[in-house]
C-alpha cells in the first residue's frame, strides 16, 4: 500500500520544533503511582531530527469503514444503539504554527456511559453495554477537521489512592506527518469537577496546559433533539522550513 499524502500540498521535510517538556507531564509524577517504576531516571539524549523522525506513516481515507466514526452504532446490534448521553466531538488538528494538519489519523477509545471499559482487565462492577465497544477512528480533512459521534463516558474508580476517580475522558491517539509528532492524550469535559482531583490530569504542571485538554460544550454544533456537541482541537508539533535545513551534497 503506497503512502497517500491526504493533501495536494507539497510535502514538508523540515525538522520539528523542539518539544517543551516543561509543558508536558514529567515522566515521574509520584501521585500517579504507576509512574514511579516506569519513569526513566537518566536524562534523555537530545537529538535534532533526522529523516527517521521527520518521516512518518500516512494513512489514506480508504482504510476507514462507514461506522468507524460512530461509536453509538459501530458495535451495536442491528437497529439498536449504545445507551448514554449522545454527543458529537469535533474539532481540528493543527500544528504549532496554527496550520491545519490534513490526513492525520485519529484513534479514540473510552469507557461506556457507566464508566466500564470493554476489556478483560476492567473489573469495575458497573455493567457493560452490549451495544457499545468503545473504539473509533477518523482521518482529518484538508483543513485538519474531524468529527465523531459517541456517548459521554462515565467517571470510574481506579486503584491509585484509596478513593481516586478518573474524570470522564476520551483517549486520543494522533499521527501527524512525521513520527516525532506521534502523540497520545486524553480529552476531558467542560465543567467536570473531577479533573482537578485527578493525579493523571494534574501530572501536567501548568493549569493552563490542563485547560487545553478540556473540550468546550458547543451548543451551535448541537443537533436539536439528537446529540449535544463538544469542540476539541489538538495541536501537534510545528516544523521548521526546509530552507533552514542543511542541504546534502548535490541536493
Amino acid at each position: 500500500m503506497p503512502a497517500e499524502s491526504g493533501s495536494n500540498r507539497k510535502p514538508e521535510t523540515g525538522a520539528f520544533f523542539q518539544r517543551d517538556r516543561t509543558w508536558h507531564p514529567p515522566a515521574l509524577t509520584p501521585n500517579y503511582k504507576t509512574s514511579v517504576l516506569r519513569s526513566p531516571q537518566k536524562a534523555l539524549l537530545a537529538l535534532d531530527n533526522t529523516l527517521s523522525e521527520i518521516a512518518g506513516p500516512v494513512f489514506g481515507h480508504a482504510m476507514l469503514g462507514e461506522l468507524d466514526g460512530d461509536l453509538i452504532h459501530n458495535f451495536a446490534r442491528p437497529g439498536e444503539s449504545a445507551i448514554g448521553e449522545r454527543i458529537i466531538i469535533h474539532g481540528r488538528v493543527l500544528d504549532e504554527r496554527g496550520v491545519g494538519v490534513p490526513g492525520a489519523l485519529l484513534e479514540f477509545w473510552q469507557a461506556n456511559a457507566g464508566g466500564r471499559y470493554r476489556h478483560k482487565k476492567d473489573g469495575y462492577l458497573a455493567p457493560l453495554d452490549p451495544n457499545f465497544g468503545g473504539c473509533g477512528r477518523a482521518i482529518t480533512s484538508e483543513d485538519g477537521g474531524y468529527a465523531f459521534r459517541t456517548v459521554k463516558p462515565g467517571p470510574y474508580p481506579w486503584p491509585n489512592g484509596p478513593n481516586d476517580w478518573r474524570p470522564s475522558h476520551i483517549h486520543f491517539s494522533v499521527f501527524g506527518h512525521g513520527f516525532a509528532q506521534r502523540l497520545i492524550t486524553q480529552m476531558y469535559f467542560e465543567g467536570d469537577p473531577l479533573i482537578w482531583h485527578c493525579p493523571i490530569a494534574r501530572g501536567i504542571p501548568d493549569k493552563a496546559a490542563i485547560e487545553t485538554l478540556i473540550a468546550a460544550l458547543d451548543m451551535q454544533s448541537t443537533i436539536p433533539f439528537d446529540a449535544r456537541a463538544y469542540k476539541f482541537d489538538i495541536v501537534l508539533r510545528g516544523r521548521r522550513s526546509s530552507l533552514f535545513e542543511n542541504r546534502l551534497e548535490g541536493n
Binding site: 499524502s5 517543551d20 516506569r38 527517521s52 504549532e96 496554527g98 483517549h171 497520545i184 492524550t185 496546559a209
Partner: protein, 204 residues
C-alpha cells in the same frame, strides 16, 4: 515589546492507560467486528523486498518486571533505506512495505513480536550514513509521554561504530542498551525503563 511569535502550544501528552488496546488493537482484546484487522499487525507480504527478520521486544520496569500492558510502535526504512512517507524525497520506497508496525505486549509473557525486514541505511543530516536502525515508540499505563528509542543490530558492528547518533552517547557503557542481539533471524531487545541497565531514550 516585539511582535508576537503567534504560535500555539503542543497539546500536552497523557498516559495511554491500561486499556490502550481498546482503541489501538481492538481485535487483540476481543472487540471484534469494528475493524477488519488491527492496524500495524502485519508488516510484510510475499512481495516485500529484503531479508526477513523477527524482533522479540520486552519492556521492563524499575524492578525488572516485564510490562504486560504496554504498546510498541516501530518505524523503519525499507531494504534500500527509503521511508514510505511523503517526506521521503530521495526515491520511492517499496510499495509493499509501509515501514510501520504496532504490537501490544503479550498479556501473559510481556513479549512483542514483529515480523519485518532488515532496514537499509538512511543518511544523517550531513549526508553520512547512519547504521541500520528501527525507531521505537513506547506507551503504557504509568508512562506520561511516549518514550522514543532506537533498535540497532548486533551483527552491524562496523556500521554501528560509525553511527553519528551512537557516537553521541557520552557514557559508552550505555551504547549496548540500544543494540538487539541476533540469534538466527531473530533479534532480541529488552527495553529497561529505569535502573542500572536503563535504555537510552531520546528527546528528538
Amino acid at each position: 515589546m516585539a511582535q508576537s511569535l503567534d504560535r500555539l502550544r503542543e497539546s500536552p501528552s497523557q498516559t495511554a492507560g491500561p486499556y490502550v488496546h481498546i482503541g489501538l488493537t481492538p481485535n487483540f482484546c476481543g472487540i471484534g467486528g469494528v475493524y477488519p484487522s488491527d492496524l500495524g499487525a502485519a508488516m510484510v507480504n510475499d512481495k516485500t523486498r529484503g531479508d526477513r527478520i523477527g524482533l522479540r521486544i520486552r519492556v521492563l520496569d524499575g524492578t525488572g518486571t516485564p510490562l504486560k500492558d504496554a504498546l510498541i510502535e516501530i518505524w523503519q526504512a525499507d531494504a534500500d533505506g527509503l521511508y514510505n512517507s511523503p517526506a521521503e524525497l530521495r526515491g520511492t520506497a517499496d510499495p509493499n512495505f509501509i515501514g510501520w508496525g504496532r504490537c501490544p505486549t503479550d498479556m501473559d509473557t510481556g513479549l512483542c513480536t514483529f515480523d519485518t525486514i532488515k532496514p537499509g541505511r538512511v543518511p544523517f543530516a550531513d549526508g553520512r550514513l547512519m547504521a541500520p536502525h528501527i525507531t521505537l515508540w513506547i506507551v503504557a499505563r504509568g508512562i506520561n509521554l511516549g518514550l522514543h528509542t532506537r533498535l540497532y543490530f548486533s551483527d552491524e558492528e562496523k556500521a554501528n561504530a560509525q553511527d553519528p547518533i551512537l557516537a553521541r552517547i557520552e557514557h559508552r557503557i550505555r551504547v549496548p542498551t540500544l543494540i538487539a542481539e541476533r540469534t538466527g533471524d531473530i533479534y532480541v531487545f529488552d527495553v529497561h525503563l529505569q535502573g542500572e541497565k536503563e535504555t537510552v531514550f531520546f528527546d528528538s
